[in-house]
Symmetry: C2
Subunit: 245 residues, 2 copies
DNA sequence: AAAATTTTGTTGCCTGTGCAACATGATGTG
DNA sequence: CACATCATGTTGCACAGGCAACAAAATTTT
């Protein structure tokens, strides 16, 4: 089957041509493996030497928390990288389980082959290595961004931190977010209803405007913020808004 | 000056001999730079091509959150890696500022030199690359572990998730944590007082026992725990705490 | 040893938000 | 169209935990 085109869209293969990708797949010893629904792709506690790329199907990485409740870490879809951090860490056992949630195909590439230079010393192999490192680093930075949101004390602050980041990424005060309310609430670790409630309030307060996934950050400082029936524009708002921008 | 010995203790240089480290420093073009107290090591918004290793002194990475409040991301000490995720991500501007909090020495190594094979094609260069990737991956996994704690709904769950991890790392039910209450509270994003309060309750409930930084996880089945009323069992806390270790 | 400083523990108050339950709007399906 | 199934918004209530202020214990400095 021809999945080269799909692969070329991944950041792991940016700036690498179709032809080169084919060669790389061969010289890295990549293999395509199929998994039935519910089959385990990675088992908790087992050492990992390959990382994977979802070619088709879907999956999720799961873990059991302190109280035995199962929690979903990530949802995997076509194009998702599997266990890339784990495979990259020397001698590391998997802290989580990855399971196919539908019949899936996964391209498995031995981590070693990324590092070990191929015989021909081809330049595209170095490009692959650069991309690979970039992908790992980006994973870390993404986690970092999420932590930035999670650390904010109030629901409103979490939301604002998230929205500001997306606005910044899209380089505009008007933007659309790529996730729905459920996912957003999960990402920010707040209640979905609390998220909706606070979004409404923020709209009332003139902080943001939105409809569904379309958002706008108002950069005008609101004149009056009313809370609990009192107007606290004078001091409190200065404290809260003064330093922005 | 001779900092090779210090370097050899870092995971970036594990399994690399003193001699080889010297050679590597030369062929990667590492330079040692000094920073005065309060001087900026990394400036927000600027592109980063080097990563750094703290040889002496101290520093911190800082950021400004949505409401303009300055928040400290990491504290840097001797041996800390600076900007390793940022340098590894292709064409990425720094999302944060790094500042020396005392006169410091930083070893700066161009990211490019890690990837580009040196002329001699020496095996230690590949080892360095492996270590480097391992370090990045570990950073990501660490962030992941913290998120695991942050996502837990209650203070008690956050604490338990953290303690279980440390116990697991030290492979024992009796262990010592490497951080004090202030840092722990900051790490888990809870109030220090709330942390102390909950730790007390957990001791009363027979879940854990502790004194200062020495902890013990009780593996009693959490069945016989009474919620609000008086607790029947587990009244007797350990008397001989001494130094565990 | 006394004093000063840092670290940890304790407690009452009050608000933010988790939770549940329901309403409304959007989208798909026969 | 009617109907089902989502996604989103609304609201009352209860309580976990943030906050502040203080107490006690441990550690460092004088």
């Amino acid at each position: 089957m021809n999945y080269i085109e799909d692969l070329s869209k991944l950041s792991l293969f940016t700036e690498i041509s179709f032809e080169e990708i084919k060669k790389l797949l061969h010289c890295t010893g990549a293999i395509c493996r199929t998994y039935k629904k519910d089959e385990l792709i990675i088992e908790e506690g087992k050492p990992i030497t390959d990382f994977g790329i979802m070619l088709s199907g879907s999956g999720c990485s799961i873990k059991w928390n302190a109280s035995g409740r199962q929690i979903i870490i990530t949802l995997l879809e076509k194009g998702s990288m599997i266990g890339i951090l784990i495979a990259s860490k020397a001698m590391h056992k998997s802290p989580l389980t990855v399971q196919a949630t539908s019949d899936s195909q996964v391209l498995r590439i031995p981590f070693n082959s990324i590092i070990t230079r191929c015989m021909k010393n081809c330049p595209c192999h170095e490009k692959l290595l650069r991309n690979y490192i970039s992908v790992i680093a980006e994973k870390g930075l993404e986690l970092h961004e999420r932590i930035n949101c999670l650390l904010e004390p109030t629901v409103r602050d979490k939301i604002m931190t998230y929205l500001r980041r997306i606005a910044h990424q899209q380089n505009s005060h008007t933007f659309t977010i790529p996730i729905n309310r459920n996912i957003m609430a999960e990402y920010l670790n707040i209640e979905r209803s609390a998220l909706s409630r606070e979004l409404s309030k923020m709209k009332k307060d003139g902080l943001i405007d939105y409809h569904r996934n379309s958002f706008r950050l108002q950069k005008t400082t609101p004149k009056a913020i009313v809370k609990n029936g009192q107007n606290l524009s004078a001091q409190a708002s200065l404290k809260e808004w003064g330093k922005i921008e």
